[in-house]
């Protein structure tokens, strides 16, 4: 027998079966074109008076006949705005040089010094292939490339999963390797050396622009070298267990070893005297190795019309940063096609052993030091709400709005002289808006 147009038999039968059962045929056709799925998202992240980020994501997934899954993802984001440079506020205006070494900027009295030169575009492409084999095994291989103006990141990873006990238990083991290289604007400054600061001449020229003057013996690129790199190796071991038909639990252990350049070449430190007055501005320096362990527990519980998702992560590393994260999401289904999902996240970390909000002139220079608030003691929380809707054609959209606040804390440092009256640990507040479309 030769069936005409063989490939159309299945869809013709789908339509005929729907006619037989008196159900709309559209449902059946939708099911047949499901092998490619697309997720798209645009995201806005904006900190008050600081950095803002716009991001676009396209994620395409193809499920093949043998249940293997191919995934490719493209992320594009642009970052603009200002970021704390690490120096402390002073009761007078301060002048800093820009990373390029060609220009400067002035920070008003009493204000946290922010470097407003941040402007970058990042492109990230990643792909993965998941292959099931021997009935209860799955292997996944992935690669990713990410580039920015001054940054290149290449990654390779593999994951092996095994289902046990009627697939109620899944064991997983993953290994990933990442290479990052940074080529900072104006070169990589030597750690803990002084920043050469120009003299501010004012903005009374024709264009009304700030003008700066450098010392006669200043040379561009002084105390700076070229690009730096680091490698990161991650190991993850996990167990996922179906507790009962409503409950799923997951435990992960992660070990991460980083080797190489982890200093932020754009971050500074103030060196102050006993009166808290800045005597010198130096570049920060961090250790060139870091070993981090993390323990992760997650539980999902399905109620009749809701899903509760709670997780806790504890991470500890040899920089002395211990962190705790509690993340919870509650999804409430409003009928078949709509849901709302409140989100609550709390984060807490201790300071790195080399964290110093500033250095005291009287003390010997330490081997490593950073005033970056991201390695200091802090708490942070996120409050959010997501609303999702499934349309009649089966496509889904969702909007998410979140508020994020990061509160750096004093990790027990005395604040000499004028510093006692200045806010050395300003909070960072941000809003996140996201729109997703799935088809």
């Amino acid at each position: 027998m030769q069936l005409n147009n063989k490939a159309t038999v299945a869809s013709a039968l789908a339509g005929a079966a729907c006619a037989l059962l008196g159900t709309p045929a559209a449902q059946a056709e939708e099911g047949m074109l499901k092998d490619w799925q697309f997720d798209t998202a645009i995201l806005y992240y904006g900190e008050t008076d600081r950095v803002s980020l716009a991001e676009g994501v396209i994620n395409a997934t193809k499920t093949n006949d043998d249940d293997s899954i191919f995934n490719v993802k493209l992320v594009l984001d642009t970052l603009t705005g200002a970021s704390a440079n690490g120096a402390v506020a002073q009761p007078y205006a301060q002048t800093f040089s820009r990373p390029s070494g060609k220009d400067g900027y002035v920070v008003n009295a009493g204000e946290t010094p922010l470097d407003d030169t941040f402007r970058d575009t990042r492109v990230q492409v990643s792909g993965s292939w998941m292959q099931p084999f021997a009935d209860t095994w799955r292997a996944t291989g992935a690669v990713n490339v990410s580039t920015e103006y001054d940054y290149l990141s290449l990654g390779l990873s593999g994951l092996l999963e095994k289902d046990l006990f009627m697939r109620n238990t899944t064991l997983s083991a993953g290994l990933s390797f990442q290479f990052d290289s940074i080529n900072p604007v104006g070169g990589t400054p030597d750690a803990l050396t002084s920043m050469l600061v120009p003299t501010y001449l004012g903005d009374d020229n024709d264009e009304g622009e700030d003008e700066f003057e450098w010392d006669d013996d200043y040379e561009e690129g002084e105390n700076k070298t070229g690009s730096e790199s680091k490698t990161t190796t991650d190991l993850i071991l996990g167990v996922t267990q179906v507790i009962n038909r409503r409950m799923l639990m997951q435990f992960n252990y992660g070990l991460s070893v980083v080797d190489g350049f982890m200093t932020d070449p754009y971050k500074l430190l103030s060196v102050v005297d006993n009166a808290g007055m800045t005597q010198d501005i130096i570049y920060e320096g961090r250790p060139d190795s870091r070993t981090k362990q993390s323990f992760f527990w997650q539980t999902k519980y399905a109620l009749d019309n809701a899903v509760v998702d709670v997780s806790y992560r504890f991470a500890t590393d040899d920089w002395d940063i211990d962190s705790h994260t509690i993340d919870s999401r509650f999804r409430f289904n409003l009928g078949d096609n709509d849901y709302i999902q409140p989100h609550l996240r709390y984060y807490q970390q201790s300071a790195a052993e080399f964290y110093r909000p500033f250095l005291n002139q009287a003390d010997p220079l330490p081997m490593y030091a950073s005033a970056d608030y991201r390695v200091g003691e802090m708490t942070a929380y996120t409050l959010g709400l997501k609303y999702g809707h499934k349309m009649e054609n089966g496509h889904e959209w969702a909007v998410r709005a979140e508020y994020y606040q990061q509160d750096p804390k004093n990790a027990g440092f005395d604040e000499p002289g004028v510093l006692a009256d200045l806010d050395l640990y300003p909070s960072v507040k941000a809003v996140i808006l996201q729109f997703n479309y799935h088809f």
Binding site: M1, K6, A10, A14, L20, M32, R245, A302
Partner: protein, 311 residues
């Protein structure tokens, strides 16, 4: 025949609703016998009352369809048509839809799937015996086969005298889908598996997105039992000749008959299982694949649906 039409719902007497109910890990299992098959209903609930209700609903619907379309029951619609001696027989909407579906299958298969071909069963006995029918017997029956000679309208069907209809090739799958539809109307939030002797429909995904695991017959593994397949939602159906064949002079004759030659299809697989959106669609694809004989795998591969073939 008129009596039949007077009772379109064909509500089976309560006494026949012999269903049993057992609690299993994570679901309730309801069982009963209908359509010459063991019927199972897997219900993702702890609610015994609800599970019993759903199983009884399934049982009564299965028995209704069996009563209405079995060619072995003198009071069925099919028996009325088969004994009409060429006169038009009034039909209801459900019968029209079922015969229209059979018509579509006939067209799609270019005559290979023909609900008038069951008459060949008069001379072919697939009970493991070794008796081949004579060519003259087959020729006599071939003149009584041909769906294109049946006149179907929205209200009547006219079957030439001597011919017979047998909807056995679609009836069970149809019953599975009908039951699944009724159950999802009754309990839209509950994931239910309707399994009538290997013809399966899942009404919706399970709560924690776990698949259902269902054993399908694997003729090569009779000692080890069944092959376990996972199904999240949709339909699954199997067509096979595991026990229905004829051996003659060392040659195995499948019960899958070619309505044009009156002989079994050459080199059909032992069994074909197809996953599709509905059980009816899956069942017909499995049957059409069997009818392709040696070409079953190629046919299924071109359809882009998940399937299992055993030879």
């Amino acid at each position: 025949m008129a009596a039949n039409q007077a009772n379109p719902a064909g509500a089976a007497p309560k006494a026949e609703l012999a269903v049993t109910l057992q609690a299993r890990e994570g679901f309730m299992l309801g069982t009963f016998d209908a359509m010459a098959s063991p019927c199972e209903i897997l219900i993702e609930t702890d609610d015994k009352q609800l599970a019993r209700q759903i199983t009884q609903l399934a049982c009564s619907e299965a028995k209704r369809i069996e009563h209405k379309y079995s060619r072995y029951r003198a009071d069925s619609v099919i028996s009325a048509i088969n004994s009409s001696h060429g006169k038009p027989i009034p039909i209801d909407d459900e019968t029209f839809r079922l015969l229209s579906f059979a018509n579509t299958c006939y067209q799609l298969s270019e005559g290979m799937f023909d609900i008038t071909s069951g008459i060949l069963g008069k001379v072919w006995r697939f009970n493991g015996s070794d008796q081949l029918p004579s060519q003259s017997d087959i020729d006599a029956l071939l003149s009584l086969i041909g769906w294109q000679r049946v006149a179907l309208t929205a209200n009547t069907v006219t079957l030439p005298a001597g011919m017979q209809l047998d909807v056995g090739g679609i009836g069970k799958e149809y019953a599975v889908d009908r039951v699944a539809t009724l159950v999802s109307e009754q309990a839209p939030e509950v994931s239910v598996v309707v399994n009538f002797g290997g013809d399966i429909q899942v009404t919706r995904r399970r709560l924690n997105d776990q698949p259902w695991y269902i054993g399908i017959e694997n003729p090569l593994k009779t000692e080890q039992g069944e092959t376990l397949v996972k199904i999240f939602q949709g339909g699954l159906a199997t067509s096979g000749d595991a026990r229905r064949y004829l051996l003659h002079e060392g040659k195995r004759y499948s019960h899958i008959l070619n309505p044009e030659t009156g002989f079994p299809v050459e080199e059909p697989p032992r069994s074909v299982t197809v996953a599709a959106d509905s059980c009816t669609q899956a069942g017909l694809l499995a049957t059409l694949a069997m009818l392709q004989g040696a070409g079953a795998e190629d046919f299924l591969a071109s359809q882009g649906l998940t399937h299992w073939v055993y030879r």
